[in-house]
């Protein structure tokens, strides 16, 4: 089976030699959610930006649907994968429906009908259907994030890259977003998601990637990655995974 996304040896350094990504390799297959976890500054968002094609890596290779991502045009990439940024911005006053419809830009005017359908479905899936004519700027931070999630869903990507999609949400909305991502995976799509909430990572992800100082220090099932030793090393916390409830219990943070 060809991986939807496969990256090998991604290296990225700042001008002063600080390593942001240290030979990171990963793979996302159809039908799975892969979670990227790690402390603040571990390189999670940077990794996602490299994979999304926003930042170029200094070395390494990214294959998208088996093809070198660098050989694909920005429009080709946009039709295969979608990226949900950590803090979505909108520079002009627009209605919710317009924001979601921006996801269809890359398909051109020829697919207007399919586009309108995809936009309506994405709005319904995220529960934002009733908000479609509301002014985006007037929404709460959580609602804005749901609208942006609807936007990336509306482009019907085979691979979805999401940077902390649950950060600004209350627990009910967090569950909803993760269930939506789960649904995407069940539909045969791939999801790569950066998460801060380890319990959500344990519950919803098929595999986890633990980043520490730009390098992958553990990879595998949530049970294997969320070990006491790994959590101690990456987060400097004494915590264990309660496998029965898929919950990470933090004992102390000394």
């Amino acid at each position: 089976m060809t991986a939807l996304l496969s990256a090998t040896g991604l290296l990225l350094q700042t001008g002063d030699g600080r390593i942001l990504l240290n030979r990171v390799s990963l793979q996302v297959n159809a039908g799975e959610i892969v979670g990227i976890i790690g402390a603040n500054g571990a390189g999670k968002s940077t990794l996602l930006k490299v994979l999304a094609g926003i930042k170029p890596a200094q070395s390494g290779r990214v294959l998208l649907m088996g093809q070198d991502a660098n050989s694909q045009s920005a429009l080709q990439r946009a039709r295969l994968q979608s990226y949900l940024e950590q803090r979505p911005v909108l520079h002009w006053p627009m209605r919710v429906q317009q924001v979601v419809a921006l996801a269809r830009l890359q398909f051109g005017d020829g697919e207007l009908a399919a586009g309108a359908n995809a936009v309506a479905q994405a709005l319904a899936a995220t529960g934002m259907g009733d908000f479609s004519q509301r002014d985006f700027q007037q929404l709460s931070e959580g609602e804005k994030l749901l609208v942006n999630l609807a936007r990336v869903l509306a482009s019907e990507p085979r691979l979805l890259l999401a940077d902390e999609p649950t950060a600004a949400l209350d627990p009910a909305h967090q569950q909803r977003v993760m269930q939506l991502l789960r649904q995407r995976a069940q539909d045969g799509k791939g999801v790569l998601v950066v998460l801060h909430d380890l319990t959500l990572a344990a519950r919803y992800c098929d595999r986890l990637l633990l980043l520490h100082e730009g390098a992958v220090i553990a990879e595998g099932s949530p049970a294997a990655v969320l070990s006491r030793a790994n959590l101690q090393r990456a987060f400097q916390i004494d915590a264990v995974l309660d496998a029965g409830n898929s919950t990470v219990i933090i004992h102390n943070n000394s």
Partner: protein, 324 residues
Amino acid sequence: MRTSLVFLCVLVAVLWLIELQSGAASVNSWVALTDWWHGINSVARIILLEVRLPRALLALLVGAALAISGAALQGLLRNPLASPDILGVSQTSALLAVCALYFGFSRLAWFVLPLAALGGAALAVLLLLQLTRRLADAQSLILAGIALTALTSALTTFALNYAPNPYALQEVYFWMLGSVANRSIAEVLLAVPFFAVGTALLLSSRRCLDALSLGEDTAATLGFPLSHYRWRLIVGVACNVGAAVAVSGSIGFVGLIVPHILRPLVKSQPGQLLWWSLPGGSALVLLADVLVQHLPGTQELQLGVLTALLGGPFFLWLLLRQRS
């Protein structure tokens, strides 16, 4: 939305016909056209075809060029206060045009003057793009634009003071305030290719401007990386502003106000705004030029003075209305 666009185009057509009828002399257009048809070189024909027609065409084209440039700059910099004159693009363009004109370079070839104006505009947009990387907030960029405007306006006066032409000081008014009066069809033909190329470049970038509503990073992931479109937009704005300045000086406020008025009508879509700005800009400049010719006074007012007189208070009103 479509009805408003049709209305706007009809308004432009009506204003254009009124502009053709405006002027000091009373000319029967029908007589002028029949004279032209029969090859009679009458006064009416000369006034209509050699005085009024170039002026009306330039008002139409310059207005469209400035307004679409303003809309493109606002979309590119994601700043509603951006416009060719506020950011100093027109003035930098004027500075290079003045240097080319008064130091004799424009006599080398017909395209030197518009190319110099175009180069000045491109230089200013490039500088502003560099500044946007350092000055993230909207206010700082506008302040930088004001500094550039002041500097290049002063340098233009400076260049004119040292120019070998004794009448140069009078020309300061032309370059700083702008006018489409006393132009010939040659100037229209000079500007048209640049307007056409510039407008085509800007319109072909309209989806990128739409995508940029979500910021540069997201635009890139939507398939519209700014790195692919940056030059298209810079050259597009430079062609339009450069050619407009080369034939009419720097006419203020058009690039700022027209996109502002039209933005609610296109539901803030930057790409759509480009299309609408074309007739919008033409309508504003034609209206201002008709008014200039009908206002009482011994000397005709400069067009740029009137766009500022109309535009300044209107813009303030718009700002106040948005705040409330």
